[in-house]
Symmetry: D2
Amino acid sequence: MASIFGNVLHLSIFGQSHSPAIGCTLDGIPAGIAVDMDELQRFLERRAPGRSDTATTRREADRPEFVAGITDGHTNGAPIAALIHNTNTRSQDYAELRRVPRPGHADYPARVKYRNYHDVAGGGHFSGRLTAPLCIAGGIALQALRAQGIRIAAHIVSLGPEGTADARLNPLQLDEAQLTSILNNELPCIDAEAARRMHEVILGAKNSLDSVGGVIECAAYGMPVGVGDPMFDGIENRIARIAFGIPAVKGVDFGAGFGCARLRGSEDNDAYRMDEGQVRPQTNNAGGILGGISTGMPIVWKMAVKPTASIGRTQHSVDLDDGVNADLKVRGRHDPCIVPRAVPVAEAACALALFDALLEDGRFVVPPAQEQDGCSAPERSERFMSA
Amino acid sequence: MASIFGNVLHLSIFGQSHSPAIGCTLDGIPAGIAVDMDELQRFLERRAPGRSDTATTRREADRPEFVAGITDGHTNGAPIAALIHNTNTRSQDYAELRRVPRPGHADYPARVKYRNYHDVAGGGHFSGRLTAPLCIAGGIALQALRAQGIRIAAHIVSLGPEGTADARLNPLQLDEAQLTSILNNELPCIDAEAARRMHEVILGAKNSLDSVGGVIECAAYGMPVGVGDPMFDGIENRIARIAFGIPAVKGVDFGAGFGCARLRGSEDNDAYRMDEGQVRPQTNNAGGILGGISTGMPIVWKMAVKPTASIGRTQHSVDLDDGVNADLKVRGRHDPCIVPRAVPVAEAACALALFDALLEDGRFVVPPAQEQDGCSAPERSERFMSA
Amino acid sequence: MASIFGNVLHLSIFGQSHSPAIGCTLDGIPAGIAVDMDELQRFLERRAPGRSDTATTRREADRPEFVAGITDGHTNGAPIAALIHNTNTRSQDYAELRRVPRPGHADYPARVKYRNYHDVAGGGHFSGRLTAPLCIAGGIALQALRAQGIRIAAHIVSLGPEGTADARLNPLQLDEAQLTSILNNELPCIDAEAARRMHEVILGAKNSLDSVGGVIECAAYGMPVGVGDPMFDGIENRIARIAFGIPAVKGVDFGAGFGCARLRGSEDNDAYRMDEGQVRPQTNNAGGILGGISTGMPIVWKMAVKPTASIGRTQHSVDLDDGVNADLKVRGRHDPCIVPRAVPVAEAACALALFDALLEDGRFVVPPAQEQDGCSAPERSERFMSA
Amino acid sequence: MASIFGNVLHLSIFGQSHSPAIGCTLDGIPAGIAVDMDELQRFLERRAPGRSDTATTRREADRPEFVAGITDGHTNGAPIAALIHNTNTRSQDYAELRRVPRPGHADYPARVKYRNYHDVAGGGHFSGRLTAPLCIAGGIALQALRAQGIRIAAHIVSLGPEGTADARLNPLQLDEAQLTSILNNELPCIDAEAARRMHEVILGAKNSLDSVGGVIECAAYGMPVGVGDPMFDGIENRIARIAFGIPAVKGVDFGAGFGCARLRGSEDNDAYRMDEGQVRPQTNNAGGILGGISTGMPIVWKMAVKPTASIGRTQHSVDLDDGVNADLKVRGRHDPCIVPRAVPVAEAACALALFDALLEDGRFVVPPAQEQDGCSAPERSERFMSA
């Protein structure tokens, strides 16, 4: 099943870091969803490489070409297919890696699984570059959800060995100012000062030819009550399944998360109260999910991102052809910290998981049909249709 | 789930008749399968339009561009993605069809399902053109199976109102001469005389601005015993699921098929005998499948293809905008009979279904790994691997 | 994937002919569907063995025990699980079959696939008895669809070598009298005289220790326009996938089916006309499906059922232990013709396929919620819920 | 998809806390796996309720009845179905909960999703009791993996607000003494002293009518290199998907997990060295998984379990019928801490995820076929089979 996600939606991601193109297909998306290509492009640029001094110098336009599924600015019901052509590749940097695997990368297990037929250049299909098509599909999902009043935001909640920490997203309701700050600060943080400190931590790692990781928090506001399934298709399972598909993610938790293990039941339970005629939990340790089903509170989750495995320092490895120890100095262009660029990826993953769950439960609100370029509206034609 | 097929393989087909490109992704294919691009191209040309006086005049190169999944002539384990760019499109031919649906086409139900947002040009995602990517994936599957000794062939078993009929594929064992004839005759028939007569039937339909259908028979030789599953994932279910994905297919049967309903049990049962130390059924009314599982005999099945819905004659339809009767004369370029071009599509569908079943049962024989351009062979590296 | 069916619904069938029980689980069914157990029982009895002189003498109560998923006569949203305990088993009849496989049965390929670990008694998991749990799930689906105005009926359209034939179900609209006749005649036929003749054909086969097959036609009335998907999840693909899961089915076609191959396009196309403000095809050669999507016309399909493989006559087989020819006389109790008992199974299969397609498209009409034993209605509680 | 797990295996779990039975079906398991029922029973008893002063007083035999899929102590290739009958139910304890939802439970979102048709007694399908069938399937998976040399163990790594902590499982290789201690200590801990302290923490919570949570660590030893898939079907995704299906799990991480976010790349990367002719990482911060694929090192992961939501203290809730605030005192019998009983559930979940991945990759070693009760061995019969 590999690179396919979703129960009603079917996202299939393809490409290798240095193949002619990377891209995705998205099958099962309803017709009639407006896709604003400018907004999508702005979203993709939050992830794109080569944009700052904390990221790799490999610069890619990351401008998707849609070859199917969209007509006149709307999904047409057929599968969406989009490509990003790879242009700025320097494959010669990678030839040695087939023989001497990089610690922390998939080189070694991939060589075994694929019997040495895998594409090793740039990490092949394991490259973080594959998160670009995830963001194409996720960017469309974000637009579809926003039309239904669901907003998703992520930020860096902590970064680096000293745990430079940011404020937390409001777990009870959308705070528009927080979302604006995240988009405007130097790094995607709520607090400008935290962004500045994290920026320095990353530059410090870069200068010492090392790398740092961090934790990203993501929240979805406006999710209706009652979506998701018990056991293996709860909102948690769905988000976890896609989030662990983001390279370098090694942990996922929800609400109080690992911290809940240190709470007493009387502290962890979110008490209900009536509030202006509505059921309203007073806290959100559950992260908006009970029994796999949304509670109507914001969906709040975190993901731990390990430090970039590719570092400039000499590392111990082995020569797989000769079966001897070998030292390795990873060449190529790499991010000293991918956490900032992973923030929109977390939003994309969250959007896709929630979109799929809404569709499966019949809770996605199909946008109202509109007059299209001289053709009659669906409503009009429905007058004459036999069911 | 729409345009996705397979349990271990995941074929996802995308594109519309007049979108920038059509194509497919194929996830789950093992690494190390050799793909001969020239052979694939020859296979695709058997389906391609514009090649004869019995087919549409729309001429497309149908030359796939592989953007992922293949390195140095072998699958690399990552999903395969391939595109065919659409070049010879004349969308203006189709504008009226949004309003006045073609009888026998998906225009009307698609308009309801997709609320008028569907791409109507050239039939959109419902076009027979979408069988081209099916043939890309199927062509690769055919090569993978052939390396394991499995050969697949199809031909036109009957065509047109008078039922112009061809000989049948040998149901007991591969007859190389039959396969050669199919490839060399004017139409894909075993018998040259049948091919000639069918050709005339098609030209007759073309001259009367009408169309004809037919029945295609397909056989897979060399399938091992014991592959497939009871109930809903038997070989029959798998082939039927993909075969009904070919536009215009309205019936599928196996072995004696609908004819078995007129046999007595004593006639229909395939008696076993020992033959040179092997279990050998004496007949093959079962079409090589019992209880959903392969018997070791050739897999034999047929599919009924309806006459091309697009005909030049004036037909009764309705105007969906105004809710009144309307007559329709379908313009655009169309095949008077798609049966000949559907023959390789049947082979492709059969290959994909069997390939997936073999993979799921762990019965696909992964090709031996080879030395690759200076890199050590998998066997060599495996010497040093811990499991 | 074997014995699992459905995209949103997940029907999982378990059991062997002589295991302690057979049964099914049905995951994904919405909450709040009323299940009338008496009606379900009447439906199951149409399939149950031992009810007439044309069926096996193995008599089973076939009374399902629901162990989960239903509360107070309604689905409760949790997976449904139901069992039928096997009581009337005579396993000693079958011991020889592990060694000498029955022609026409799965004995031989199952032995290879399962490496001789399969349960051979009564055909094990390949037994026609497994259609009982299919009918439990299908019977619930039939009730759910009927509440939405969708009615499904099947009958024997032809039987035996001489093709004793019945009238056809009205392909344009529901004819209540036809459905009543099917339930009241000696065999499930529209025409009493056809039923009588078919009955004689079956008794004739029985007396000659042989068996006969037949063709079943099934129609679903009231299916709305616009349900189903292009390519691999069309209504045809879905019905075919489940219908080929019924043991002995060797062919499936839709509408004009294999007959469409002999029509001209001008004959096969179903012309549209307006009729009382509704789009109305004038014929239904498409069987209510174009491009995989329902047209609003009745869904009409047929399935070919081979003659019962178990016959009393001596047959040629082999001894798999010793690798020599052997003759076989099948003992045990068997139907000389399973076609009559397969009629409700066709209805069940059709209902499950359409139910799943409606759910996936968000077109299943969830029944209105009601006051339940003193608890407030959902509507009432929804007043206080935050989304 | 709800309560179904697996790509090749298909585990479907059914039942409600107070329905006649709970159970599971397991489709797709190969034939010929020996199932030791006594060993399975011992495994189930590690999870069963009513066994100690730290658990609920509801005592259930939890003795599964296998109704299909196992013959003569081996899987027979047909789906496994097993039931546990519910006997010790006191449903009257729960009637109020339909109206006044328990904080921390699924009562409220389930009422919305299922429109008040859900079975509220004992938590219905959301009950922790549903982990019993998970352990039936998982117990079989554990036996299948053990036959292939794969051993799985879990323990409580920390518990309660003060974080009473246990030693860690050896991340580099199996330590048999650790596994023995876990099974023999008062609670499933490596260290007897930690077990004693945790026991006291639980009793303290019980006495204050409160509850505590904890963190469970699980390791799988002996997993071969090269199993799993990139992106959405990596080992991490698979384990996370099933682990979040265990009620009360709110976080899952792998290897260094959330802690990796505080490491530098030079610390987090597991350096390779040759060791007796084998590639051997020197540390295991990756938890045995890189790029979703197993590295040959132990698979190590943790899950955070929240404190039991059902506590004896009075809590704030609402009356959903009247839309007013209401206080709630949860009656019924509950565990003050479910962490100890969740330990075998973690092992079961891990085993099922790895078993499915091995099967999908064709890496599960089918056990050698044996002579069975007088029948010839598969090997013998294969001599006469045509492929």
